[in-house]
């Protein structure tokens, strides 16, 4: 039995929230530099240069790279033989988020209720997904997910006969509709299969995989690459001003589903793709 202290989780989460917002991941930074070399539009290159400079400033001054410091979303791999003492896992995460967003001068963007719309004042509650695993550890994955790109995301129950072509057509359609609103260049997260709610989760989960890392399933990996090329042919470009860099990457997670179903979810992420992972042993 592994014992993990409530307070350890609070402190870890607090730091993750700050780091995610201040330090753009190497994967995204490298993708920017790569895109700067290949982007055809001068305006597009200007946007990419601004994004690189922005990331440098945010890191050097330890300030948020974007003013929308996001919804704090967590996927926790929880070892089934781990025990948390001193409080619950979800409470610890929320306390860590409240501290991280407060001490880190991050923006509070969460409201109590979708209709009364009053700010909770500390960016909680976080969204927490828990996956039970056999290992004796807790792995916390965190993302600060911006509202602009989340708002342009979508889910559709396709027919099995729509097949791969139908999936691609649907994804391209969502990216086109999002245009400049989702702050391209994007990371496009796609869930295929599962059921209605599982599919949306798969799309979100795919975004936790770093840029450049392909799905281990060869067929899915090939589809990621094909979609990436097709999306970049759309011409939307950095910030939607026209260009050849619309997506920095495409991620797909696929799972078993019902004989009658082909659920597909598209979770768009902006270039401010902010992730942190922490392992508590």
């Amino acid at each position: 039995m592994k014992i993990i202290e409530y307070q350890t989780i609070v402190e870890e989460v607090k730091e993750m929230c700050k780091k995610a917002n201040y330090n753009l991941g190497e994967d995204v930074y490298t993708a920017f530099s790569q895109a700067l070399k290949t982007e055809k539009s001068e305006t597009g290159r200007e946007v990419l240069s601004q994004l690189i400079e922005n990331a440098d400033i945010a890191k050097a001054e330890q300030v948020p790279m974007c003013q929308d410091t996001g919804t704090a979303v967590f996927i926790v791999e929880l070892g089934q033989n781990c025990q948390i003492t001193g409080g619950s896992l979800v409470e610890a995460i929320n306390e860590g988020v409240a501290k991280g967003y407060g001490e880190g001068y991050l923006r509070n963007s969460i409201i109590h209720h979708p209709l009364d719309r009053k700010n909770t004042g500390n960016n909680t509650p976080a969204i927490v997904h828990i996956e039970l695993v056999e290992e004796e550890h807790i792995v916390i994955h965190m993302t600060a997910k911006g509202g602009g790109a989340e708002n342009m995301s979508d889910l559709k129950m396709l027919k099995p006969s729509d097949g791969v072509d139908g999936i691609k057509e649907y994804v391209l359609d969502i990216v086109k509709k999002a245009g400049p609103n989702a702050c391209p260049p994007l990371v496009v997260g796609i869930g295929i299969g599962g059921n209605f709610e599982r599919c949306a989760y798969l799309a979100k989960k795919s975004l936790f995989r770093p840029i450049g890392i392909r799905n281990h399933d060869q067929t899915i990996a090939a589809m990621e690459e094909e979609l990436m090329m097709e999306i970049n042919r759309l011409g939307i470009g950095p910030q939607g001003l026209g260009g050849s860099t619309t997506a920095l990457d495409v991620k797909i997670e696929a799972e078993a589903c019902h004989i009658a179903a082909l659920p597909v979810a598209v979770n768009l992420n902006c270039h401010a793709s902010r992730h942190q992972t922490s392992i508590l042993m």
Binding site: P64, Q67, R107
Partner: protein
């Protein structure tokens, strides 16, 4: 080519701007996003005076992060403009001449921009730390209870934007995408 424009906007500057132009703005802008727009709109409907005179002014759609001690303002990049579309034509009719945000505008807003000779600028969404460097002062002047959504008066210097929608009906989101879709074939 990069143009420099001083605010408040004057007519000749507005009509000289074309969709796709890169512009550096200097002068005063007022911040307002969802909640401030809603409140201004409701006050206007009730015949109450607005807290700021919008004549010839520019609104910046932003909800900044809290400033650290010693900072003028926190990170302050643009938010999605379409959420303001329902209110914008009325504000343009009241004399508003410019807007800074990101993303598509509705046909009604584009029409109001053409009819009343106004302009919609896009700042780079997500470049908030960089953008903050061109904000020289910041003061909450109305609706302080709205927190990050309060109306602030900002003095900006060489604030980088692109012209998205001009008085001639130009729209760089449409034109840029069409051009590069062809080039990427």
């Amino acid at each position: 080519m990069q143009k420099k424009i001083d605010l408040p906007l004057n007519h000749s500057d507005i009509v000289s701007l074309k969709a796709g132009d890169r512009v550096l703005l200097s002068g005063v802008v007022y911040t307002a996003r969802d909640a401030a727009h809603k409140r201004m709109y409701e006050q206007e409907e009730m015949g109450m005076p607005l807290p700021i005179d919008l004549t010839n002014q520019v609104l910046y759609y932003v909800g900044p992060t809290p400033e650290k001690p010693g900072e003028v303002i926190g990170s302050a990049g643009p938010t999605t403009s379409s959420r303001m579309d329902a209110y914008t034509p009325k504000l343009i009719a009241k004399g508003l001449k410019g807007m800074i945000g990101k993303g598509y505008r509705s046909d009604e807003v584009k029409q109001a921009i053409m009819n009343h000779k106004a302009v919609y600028f896009g700042a780079v969404g997500g470049a908030a730390a960089l953008i903050s460097r061109s904000i020289k002062s910041s003061e909450v002047i109305a609706y302080p209870d709205l927190g990050t959504e309060a109306i602030r008066k900002l003095v900006i210097e060489n604030f980088p934007v692109f012209v998205i929608n001009d008085v001639y009906g130009g729209d760089i989101y449409i034109d840029g995408t069409t051009k590069y879709k062809r080039e990427n074939e």
